[in-house]
């Protein structure tokens, strides 16, 4: 029975990373083997962690406002971050220095993403534009500005040949996260009506919707579980929800236990390993979840 459904969610707490003061807005795994974790929070810092050991490796200070988004280059050498200070910061991971500051947006930048070879960084802002910045040249102007959105951009995804942005405008409720599947056939949309929907990338048809959690006010990111067999999301009560991607039914336990004191702002499954996942919460903690070894074997 157990092998028929999606693999169980890693639900046992491995470590708690709690040196952030104030809400943590974003937590991203490093690229490659993803042995590191980067988190950014209201305390204007970006922190580099070893999630396995639970140790903080480095702190990147330089933001003048909260950090709302982080993206990591595929070679793990650079990271870009953005937040309330209306410019994208480009960091050198090793030295911890901000290599470049890219101003240009008129309001806070909610989302920032590298493209596949980190030659372009896209930034989506509250000023309802997505700007694409060239990192190869020292050009101060964006390569292109996508101003089709009519309201604040909340989320971005930059694939090899596509750029997806989620905005507050539109007919669906405000979209707070967009994430395509790896085959780029469908994408997952988290919107502020306590619903996560899976859409067909081809024709925009609704494939599945996932309900049960509460998410009406804050940006909370939904993502796919291991092997994209499940959909996981945190909610505003501090619970981690999981659904079967195909059936759309919540996975046990339903309702899930409350694991964070406040809302979960970001959830990210380990890109490679099936037994690890991380959640960031506005209670100031980042929690690393793993499947206990005995169940793993």
């Amino acid at each position: 029975m157990s092998f028929r459904g999606p693999p169980p969610l890693p639900r046992s707490l491995h470590t708690t990373l709690s040196t952030h003061t104030g809400p943590v807005h974003v937590a991203r795994y490093a690229k490659g083997a993803a042995k590191y974790l980067l988190t950014g929070g209201q305390d204007r810092t970006i922190r580099l962690w070893n999630p396995n050991l639970g140790t903080e490796i480095k702190v990147y200070k330089g933001h003048g406002y909260e950090v709302l988004s982080i993206t990591i280059s595929p070679d793990n050498a650079k990271i870009a971050s953005s937040g309330g200070d209306r410019s994208v910061f480009l960091w050198d991971v090793a030295t911890g220095n901000a290599i470049r500051r890219i101003p240009g947006h008129l309001a806070r930048i909610n989302a920032v993403e590298f493209n596949e070879d980190a030659s372009v960084v896209a930034s989506g802002s509250y000023d309802s534009t997505v700007k694409l910045w060239d990192l190869r040249a020292q050009n101060r102007q964006p390569i292109q500005t996508l101003d089709e959105a009519r309201d604040a951009i909340q989320t971005l995804f930059v694939g090899s040949t596509c750029i997806m942005s989620g905005s507050v405008d539109g007919h669906v409720h405000p979209v707070t996260s967009v994430l395509p599947t790896s085959d780029a056939q469908t994408y997952l949309i988290q919107s502020l009506n306590s619903t996560i929907i899976l859409m067909d990338a081809e024709n925009g048809k609704l494939l599945n919707s996932f309900k049960g959690h509460t998410n009406n006010l804050y940006r909370s990111r939904a993502c796919f579980g291991h092997a994209e067999a499940s959909v996981i999301s945190g909610d505003e009560d501090g619970r981690i929800w999981a659904w079967d991607l195909v059936e759309g039914s919540p996975l046990a336990p339903n309702p899930p236990p409350k694991v964070h004191d406040k809302l979960i702002t970001w959830i990210e499954h380990h890109p490679k390993e099936g037994n690890e996942m991380v959640t960031a919460s506005s209670d100031g903690t980042v929690k690393v979840w793993k499947t206990p070894d005995n169940t793993d074997s």
Partner: protein, 972 residues
């Protein structure tokens, strides 16, 4: 080669290299710590360099040990190791100001540079900076003072001072130094001390010694002045007096029988030092000599002796608590609690003075024991015991109160005078007694002197009596004064007339009678308005329109006035007193007169504005919506909803989870080319999006650009080909029929401005050919010239040295050919410029076989004329088109053709060496009717030339000796 490059790079910064390397290795270590998998070489060596090296053929990987030794500098370079030159080194004057840090330059408060001259190496001041002149300081010229030595002014120190110094000097010259301390009574005190008894002073030897250590107090400026005038301490002030006067002053005048000291009378004495009488200010209203008893407050605050009381000054100015001296207490600071000296125990009235060792013994002090060291606890005096304990009659005193040691003196009260029975206060009677006030009373009530009961006027004479009155009282004869009024100058008749007029006005019908005086009438008196005014006012502005009731009454009143016979008169409202009614009527009259509209012609010029005041009905109190309101709101909401739904089927679909084509919009998006490049994606729309406008500037695509570029090229191409295909005679470019001189620049010229819009910048060579100087030309395209020049006509330049190797006979033909050639080959650039022969003669010109041909004069003349015409046409053409290649050759050609003057040739001829003259002679022989009108050559020359006649001009001459200017190349 790499090694070479490296060493070259390092040689510049040899001393920094090691440090830089250190830094790099540090960075590497830290990088490797975190990311062991990332290769340091990749990061440090630029990809560009790598590519370069690979191009050269060096394996980067194998040579990595050497290549890791990189020459990129990371971080801020350290300052050079060897110290810079000594700081005291001479810096040229012009550098000094720049390189001196601002702090080192002495400047005055206005920012001007101070300390010119010796400090900075010379007088650099000038003009604003300044010693007064633009040049700065210049030494004065020598002026002999021999003649006017007397006039020579002695230099004062002030002459060398600037304003600061002068200000200081002024400060020092002030009469009284405000900062100095003065002891006004130092002398007095000394006097007193000496008078009071030397014993006391001796007794307190310690205090005296200590006092002597203090600096002597300075006299006040007054005392010093007095001393300078001969006054001494202890003397009185004033002229010196005799002995007798002195005795009188002292109070024991010389008795008549008293023996007089002879010596004493011989001298004059200083007057007795008398205290200046101090008359205290009287600030109460008691009678003179009346001393009011002390109030309780005075007593308690105490300290005031009875003497002070006697002088009527119950004002014992409380000095307040002592303020502890120290920092932070300015003159303007108010004393706060913190500032009060908590250790100060010299409270007023109490006997708890501090006794310091150096306190000089005061005479009035009762206890004069000196205490050094810890104080004894204050001995309870008997007084205290009594005060805190009981009254004199044995009753205990309430705690916290003290029995006064001085009995409280109560104010003396005098009994009021008897008021006669039946007296009634009647000021009028008093006023009536005084005739002057009585007359005033008649004049008007406002002039009445107010009987002030509270404070009696201290200067009643000012108000009560005028000078005239006083004079009358004193019985003076009044001064003949000027008449006071204009009326005094009028004759009696005029006065009467004026009076009559005034009376008629007062009772007049011309003016409306205003409301009568309120105090006079108690009955209703309706003022009248003339019917005209009333009617006009009815048409005009209605001042009471906001108050409907008043407005109605106003209208009624106006009606009654406009038609007094028919309309009913206005009646007072019920409950309205006559006074109020009269006042109301007065208001109406006033407003009718003010707001009557302008009449006649003026009225037609104005239109009264219609002011409509839409004021919603205001309900007092809380707003309580009724059922209707709710219904309205609901309806509005429903309507909104309906609208929304109608407007947005998409939203509706989204709500129903009917996602799909309804909820999806697809737009064509054109990514920027750079973006495509960065993403590594092929342009999806290489030919531009069909049916789509090119995107905005931010999203401009390469496709669109490419397209535009290509079309542009296509556009340009035919225009480029135009000149080559142009028929010369037609003189127009693409549309020969439409474009001629007649219609160019006119409104119907379709081509107007087209050439300026589609202007293409010609090749650089053309510009060079036109604008570059001849010298450049010769250097640049000398070898080309050689070819070019061949077919050219002989340019008759201003350059006299140039050898004219071409036989003059050739001059006739080539101009034409040249000219034609230029027109036919305009599109070809100058480098391939190939002058051709006459079009009529040859289609193509072979350089090697080219020979100038001679054209008979008659034919040539025709041609020339035609050619001139053509040329003119073409010139205009050129100007029009702006695309035809223009060169100096052509210009010169034209000039030459039009010039054709023999004088020029003459000058040539003069300069010409005999060999050339020979050629010339040939020319002269050949075309005797040529345009060259010149002297026949000398006979000798003719003879020399003759043998050559038969030979045509050898070809090799023309080919080897280029005509025109001799170039440097020609000599090689």
């Amino acid at each position: 080669m790499i090694a070479h490059i490296l060493s070259y790079t390092f040689s510049a910064d040899r001393d920094r290299q090691s440090i830089a390397n250190l830094c790099i290795s540090d960075a590497l270590i830290s990088a490797q710590k975190h990311f062991p998998q990332s290769s340091p070489i990749n990061r440090i060596m630029t990809t560009k360099l790598k590519r370069k090296l690979e191009n050269i053929g060096i394996d980067v990987r194998s040579n990595s040990t050497r290549l890791t030794e990189n020459f990129c500098l990371i971080g801020t370079p350290l300052p050079p190791l060897e110290k810079s030159k000594d700081t005291g080194e001479f810096v040229p004057l012009w550098k000094q100001d720049v390189f001196l840090p601002l702090t080192l330059v002495v400047r005055d408060e206005k920012g001007r540079r101070r300390l010119h001259g010796a400090f900075t190496g010379g007088f650099s001041a000038g003009y604003f900076n300044t010693v007064g002149s633009k040049e700065g300081w210049t030494p004065a010229t020598f002026i002999s003072s021999r003649a006017d030595r007397a006039k020579a002014k002695q230099a004062r120190p002030e002459d060398f001072m600037d304003e600061e110094d002068i200000a200081e000097l002024k400060e020092s010259r002030k009469l009284v130094d405000t900062t100095e301390e003065h002891d006004m009574f130092a002398d007095t005190r000394a006097e007193l001390a000496s008078r009071g008894g030397g014993a006391g002073a001796e007794k307190d030897s310690m205090a005296a010694t200590l006092q002597s250590l203090l600096p002597a107090a300075k006299d006040s400026i007054g005392a010093r002045l007095l001393k300078k005038m001969g006054w001494k301490a202890g003397q009185g002030i004033g002229p010196r007096i005799t002995y007798q006067q002195l005795r009188a002053q002292e109070g024991n005048p010389i008795q008549p029988n008293e023996p007089i000291d002879e010596e004493a009378t011989k001298h004059l004495y200083a007057p007795r030092d008398t205290r200046v009488a101090f008359i205290p200010k009287k600030d109460n209203s008691f009678g003179l000599g009346y001393a009011p008893g002390d109030g309780l407050t005075n007593l308690v605050h105490g300290g005031a002796g009875s003497g002070a009381r006697g002088s009527g000054a119950g004002i014992n100015v409380e000095s307040g608590p002592n303020i502890s001296a120290g920092f932070g207490l300015g003159a303007l600071n108010e004393a706060e609690d913190d500032d009060i000296d908590v250790y100060d125990r010299s409270g007023g009235g109490s006997k708890m003075h501090r006794h310091m060792a150096y306190d000089a013994g005061e005479e009035d002090e009762t206890d004069d024991h000196i205490v050094i060291g810890p104080r004894f606890p204050a001995k309870p005096t008997s007084q205290n015991v009594v005060g805190s304990g009981t009254f004199k009659d044995g009753r205990p005193v309430a705690s916290g109160f003290v029995v006064s040691e001085v009995p409280l003196i109560e104010n003396r009260w005098f009994p009021l005078p008897e008021i006669p029975k039946g007296w009634v206060p009647d000021p009028r009677r008093v006023w009536a007694k005084d005739p002057s006030t009585a007359t005033k009373q008649e004049g008007g009530p406002s002039n009445l002197p107010l009987p002030s009961s509270g404070a009696p006027d201290r200067r009643p004479w000012i108000k009560s009596k005028t000078a005239d009155e006083r004079g009358a009282m004193l019985g003076e004869t009044p001064l003949p004064s000027a008449p006071r009024s204009v009326f005094d100058y009028l004759s009696q008749k005029d006065k009467d007339r004026l009076k009559n007029m005034g009376a008629s006005i007062a009772s007049g019908t011309a003016f409306p009678k205003t409301a009568p005086q309120p105090q006079m009438n108690s009955s209703v008196d309706i003022p009248t308005l003339t019917p005209q005014i009333a009617q006009a006012a009815m048409k005009g502005f209605q001042p009471f329109s906001k108050d409907p009731e008043k407005h109605a009454r106003y209208t009624v009143y106006l009606q009654s006035q406009s038609t007094p016979d028919t309309a009913p008169a206005l009646r007072p409202m019920p409950g309205q007193s006559p006074d109020e009614f009269n006042k109301e009527l007065a208001d109406y009259v006033k407003s009718a007169q003010i707001f009557k509209p302008v009449s006649g012609a003026m009225a037609s010029r104005f239109a009264s504005s219609a002011t409509v005041e839409v004021v919603g009905v205001q309900h007092p109190g809380l707003y309580q919506p009724t059922q209707e309101d709710y219904a309205k709101i609901d309806v509005a909401k429903n309507e909104d909803k309906k609208k929304e739904e109608e407007e947005d089927p998409k939203k509706h679909a989204a709500r129903l989870n009917m996602f799909g084509h309804l909820t999806r919009e697809e737009k064509v998006w054109l990514p920027a080319r750079l973006l495509l490049k960065r993403f590594g994606v092929r342009d999806p729309y290489p030919d531009g999006v069909p049916g789509e406008e090119p995107p905005t500037s931010s999203a401009s695509t390469s496709a669109a650009k490419n397209d535009a570029w290509q079309t542009e090229v296509l556009k340009v191409a035919p225009e480029l080909t135009i000149p080559s295909s142009t028929d010369i005679t037609s003189g127009s470019s693409s549309k020969p029929l439409q474009r001629d001189l007649a219609n160019i620049g006119l409104g119907d010229d379709e081509e107007q401005g087209k050439d300026t819009l589609t202007y293409e910048r010609p090749a650089m060579d053309i510009f060079k050919a036109i604008f570059a100087s001849d010298d450049e030309d010769s250097e640049d395209d000398g070898d080309e010239e050689e070819v070019v020049v061949k077919g050219k006509e002989e340019p008759i330049g201003d350059n006299d040295e140039e050898p004219l190797t071409e036989p003059p006979a050739a001059t006739s033909a080539p101009p034409i050919s040249q000219h034609l050639a230029t027109t036919t080959t305009t599109t070809t650039s100058l480098t391939t410029y190939e002058p051709a022969v006459n079009k009529e003669n040859t289609g193509k010109v072979d350089l090697s076989t080219f020979k100038p041909t001679f054209v008979p004069l008659s034919e040539r003349g025709d041609k020339k004329r035609g050619e001139d015409k053509e040329r003119r046409d073409k010139k205009t053409n050129k100007k029009k088109k702006g695309k035809i290649v223009v060169s100096f050759d052509v210009e010169e050609d034209g000039n030459e053709a039009s010039l054709g003057s023999p004088t020029v040739v003459k000058s040539h001829k003069k300069e010409r060496p005999p060999k050339r003259i020979k050629d010339k002679a040939v020319d002269a022989e050949l075309e005797d009717e040529s345009m060259w009108v010149e002297k026949p050559p000398p006979e000798v020359v003719k003879d020399l030339v003759l043998p050559m006649l038969t030979d045509p001009v050898p070809e090799d001459i023309t080919s080897t000796h280029p005509r025109g200017r001799k170039r440097a190349v020609d000599f090689i």
